[in-house]
Structures are given as C-alpha cells and as structure tokens.
Amino acid sequence: MIPWAKRAAAVLSGVFLMALLFPVGSYWGGVAGAALNLAFAAVGKFPPFVRRFLPSFALGINTVLSAYGVLAGGPAVWAVPIAVLSLFSWNAERFGQRWGDAPRPVQSRYLKRIGSLAAMGLGAGLSAEACQGNFSIPFSLTLLSMLAGGVLLLRLMSQAFPKGR
C-alpha cells in the first residue's frame, strides 16, 4: 500500500516540477527533476547505498528546483503540491526502509498520520498562495480552507497538552 503511494507521489512531483519549470524556459531543469523523481519512484531496484541517500537527495533537489521556479517567475501554485508530494514520498520511503514488513494496521495508521499532515500542508500552502493572489479561487473557499486549517491546527495543539494527571 505505502510503496505504491510513494511511487505515485514521486511521479506526480516530477510532473508538477515540469509544469513549474517549463513555463520559465528551464527545460533541462524540469527534465532532470522529473528523471530524478522517476528514479526515486524505482529506488527499491538500486543498491543499498543509493537507496539510503537518494530520498533525501531527491527532497533537497525538488525543493531547490521549486524555489528556483518560483523565483524565476513560474506558476507558484505548483510549488506547494511539489513540496507536499516530495515530503510524502521521502517520508514514505524512510518508513519503508525502517519498517519493511509493517502490519496493515500500522500502515493504515501511518497513512492517516502523514495524510492529515500532507492535507494540512497543502491546505495551508494553497491558502497562502491564494491570499497573495497567485491563483484565483473564490474568497469563500479560501476563507473556508483557512478556517478548516485553523481548526485542525487547534485540535493538534490541544492534543499536545498532557492529559490531566
């Protein structure tokens, strides 16, 4: 379950990187980023040394290329999903390395945990982009997603306090 989610996230990161970099004329950057993400999707086929370092390397390169694309004037809206998908695939690969044969309940719990975090990151990032007018969504939707994000944040913060003892 998790490996396929990770592969899908890595491939989508590559696609979004091309969508971010092609409009600013950085074809080689887009192709290199996509190729790296494709390689990362198939990281299980590589030797252990590569398998150990490729996830972190891919996360770093994705972040740098996204930042470059944003600074070069590309469509900034793609940078947030790239960041979220890169983080997801990187963390899922780390989880797989640490816990190769995780039982199904553990996998479900992991996917819930990282899924909520990714959804929150995506919501917060896209809301921030929308607030800056980088892409147009109705004001009501922006407000709604910000409020939902705020509620989720408060819930998480309330959980951080020790239960009365």
Binding site: L71, A76, A79, A83, L87, A118, G121, A128, A160
Partner: protein
C-alpha cells in the same frame, strides 16, 4: 529528534529566510508544508512508558559449549507507543541463536518477550541494560532509553576426572579421610607394633611377632584423615601463551578445576588462590557447595599484570594452614624457583602442576633449523628449573597439555617413586 527532522527543519528555515530576504510571499507559502512537518513532533504528546523488565537465565551456571536459554520480558505499564526498537546488547564472545531485537508498536499493558539461546567459552558474562528507542511513525522524533535488566551467566571450566593420587601433608585435620596422618589409630594401612595393652582389640594381635618374642604384640594402623589443600592458580599475564583457538591459561584453569574437584571429592578442605592482577581468595571449605564456589571463581579468572605480583615473592602464605598441602598450577619461570623453595622451607608440601609452555608454543614457530636449536635450549632451561624444584622437595608434574592431566599426574607420581 532525528536526522530526518533536521533535514526538513533546515529546508523550512532556508525557505523562510529566502522568502523574507527576497520578500517573496510564494516562497513563504511553499515553506508552510515543511514547517508543518518539522513542527509535528512538538504538537504530538510525548508518550510516557513505565517499564518493567525481567531477565531469566536457565541455567545461569553451565559448562563451556552448553546452551543457556535467556528470556527477557519487558512490560509497558505506561502509555501506547507507536514504534519502538528494543535491543538486548550481548556481552562480546557470546554466540547467540535466536532473536535479540524487537521492532514494532508497543501498546500499554502489553508484555514483549525476547527468547534466545547463548553459548560461551569459560568466563563470567554480565548482561546489563536493554536499549529501547522510542520513535514516532513519521520517524521525526526519537528517544533512547536504557532499562536496567541485569543477569550474570557463569560458564564454568570443564573438569577432568582424575585417578587416585597421593599427597602427604605434614599436618592433617581431625576428621577421617583418605590421607595418611602419620599417627596410629583407626585405619587400614599397617603402621607398626607395640606391646598389648588391656582393651586392645584381639583381632589386632600380631601372633607371629608374639610367638617370636614371647609377648603379646598388637598391630598399629595409620589413621587416615582429611587435609587442607590450597590450590594456587598462576594468572600472571607474563605466563600466557595464546593462539587463535587455544590458550595455555585455559589449560591451567582446567587443571585447577580438576584438582579442586578431586580433592573435594576425597573429602578434603580446599581453598583457591588466583594470583595475577590481584589476589582472589576463595576461603577453604568442604563439599559440593565449595566445589560450586571454586568453579564460579575459576569461571571469572582472568589474566592480569601487577608490579607487586610479578613474582611469587608476594604469595600470601598465611592464607594456607601451616604444614598443609599447597598445589601450584603454573607454567613456571626460572625466577620462581627461589620463592617456591621458600614455600617449601616454611613446611608446606608443594605439588607443582606445570603446563609445558614449550610443547604448546613450538608449533607456533616457523619450521626451520633454528626452531629445534631454540627448543632444545629452552627445554634445557626448563629441565634445570624443574630439577631445582624437585631437589628442594617439591613434587613437580610436567604436563604436556596435548595429553590428559591424569596421565601426567600418574607418570609424575611414578617418577617420584623412582
């Protein structure tokens, strides 16, 4: 926190800084997912486990090569833990069969058991703390804890069966045993004769002597009693010769175990002194408990080096009862002769069992013409040392460790009779 968390936090910080410096809101928006990931461990509760650990060794004392089943139970009386790495670090030189690790969730109230088997060579193995790493599912937080869960495994030295050997200390103890006491009384060995005294058993009358002297003559028998035996194990590092698979010291330990077992089996009072880095003294005693004490002391015997104990001059002779039997197990050096002569001069009966270092070591030397010459010179030196000790009245057994100890003791006794 883990290296993964550091990476995400560093990327978040860089993006925020870049966004602030370049006054670019899109970069700040892009930094939000990274910030959320890096702040996630702070939002989540730190689970508080309450550990209870128990270790069982079955048996905790065994002979070399035998398996010891170890069961370690760890109970979590605190909160649920999403992911833990549980490892039971093992002492070096222990061969393990089974699983000494656990990785997985550890819910409150659950008990996790590690079961495995270890085998070791002679020695004392201390099992200390268990190492537990508590992490979260995302791998961003990690805490390490050591849980005390001690246990000691004693791998005892193997003891050979020895045939009957003769020792004759000047002083014996009052209880009946197997050692001739040089005093007349109840016994089986003929000791002498004297004139009949009313009350002497008639069965002890010596009719032949009576007929010759025209008197009533009674046979006397030698009392057989138990004796004090002090075993000294030479654990000075300087005496050790070690190969990849074998060690001369291990043979000495085996000899000490065999002799202790033999003398205790004969009913004697036996003490053990390990002479090396320091003096380790096992107080004399009798029987099976004393055997267990001596074997446990031998299991922990280690080689050592100390300026004070470099020679036998510092041997604490007051530990051994006056005129008792002392058994020394040592490969011997020429310098040891004076101290051992002194020991003999104090009235102790000295039996020296000397594992032969030359026959043990010669196979390690290169095969050339010099080896034979070197061996013959060293052999002459050793023979001279042993001869000096024999002349001083000590009983010396030169033991080639490739052969059994009982054979060396038997041939040593035969040599003494000649």
């Amino acid at each position: 926190m883990t290296g993964s968390w550091s990476l995400v936090a560093a990327l978040a910080l860089l993006l925020v800084l870049a966004g602030l410096v370049l006054r670019n809101g899109a970069l700040l928006a892009m930094a939000l997912p990274y910030l959320l990931f890096s702040l996630q461990p702070f939002w989540q509760n730190r689970p508080r486990p309450a550990w209870k650990a128990k270790r069982e060794l079955e048996p905790d004392s065994l002979m070399g090569g035998q398996p010891c089943a170890i069961k370690v139970e760890l109970a979590n009386g605190g909160e649920d833990l999403e992911e833990i790495f549980l490892t039971d670090p093992l002492p070096p030189d222990v061969k393990v069969e089974g699983n000494t690790e656990y990785h997985g969730p550890f819910m409150a109230g659950r008990v996790e058991t590690l079961s495995y088997t270890v085998r070791g060579v002679r020695g004392k193995y201390e099992f200390g703390e268990m190492s537990v790493t508590i992490g979260d599912l995302l791998g961003l937080r990690r805490e390490e804890e050591n849980i005390p869960c001690s246990g000691t495994l004693s791998v005892l030295p193997a003891a050979d069966h020895l045939e009957r050997m003769k020792i004759s200390p000047r002083r014996t103890r009052v209880f009946t045993g197997m050692i001739r006491s040089r005093e007349s009384g109840a016994g089986v060995e003929f000791f002498g004769t004297r004139g009949y005294v009313a009350g002497d058993p008639l069965a002890h009358l010596n009719w032949k002597a009576g007929a010759r002297w025209d008197l009533l003559i009674t046979n006397l028998f030698e009392q057989e009693r138990i004796a004090d035996v002090g075993i000294i194990l030479d654990a000075r590092s300087i005496m050790e010769i070690k190969t990849e698979e074998d060690s001369l010291f291990e043979h000495s330990v085996r000899a000490a175990a065999s002799l202790a077992q033999y003398f205790l089996g004969e009913g004697n009072r036996v003490g053990l002194l390990i002479y090396g880095n320091h003096i380790e003294w096992t107080y004399p005693g009798y029987g099976k408990q004393q055997r267990a004490r001596i074997l446990a002391a031998l299991a922990g015997a280690e080689l050592g080096e100390h300026a004070v104990f470099k020679e036998f001059g510092s041997l604490p002779t007051r530990l051994f009862p006056a005129e008792s039997q002392v058994v020394l197990i040592s490969p011997l050096r020429g310098e040891d002769v004076v101290s051992l002569r002194y020991l003999r001069g104090l009235g102790y009966r000295v039996l020296i069992v000397s594992p032969d270092p030359l026959s043990f070591e010669k196979w390690l030397l290169p095969q050339d013409g010099f080896r034979e010459l070197a061996e013959s010179i060293a052999r002459m030196e050793r023979e001279a040392t042993l001869a000096k000790l024999r002349r001083s009245g000590a009983q010396v057994v030169d033991w080639d460790v490739t052969g059994p100890l009982w054979l060396a003791l038997k041939s040593g006794a035969a040599e003494r009779r000649r």
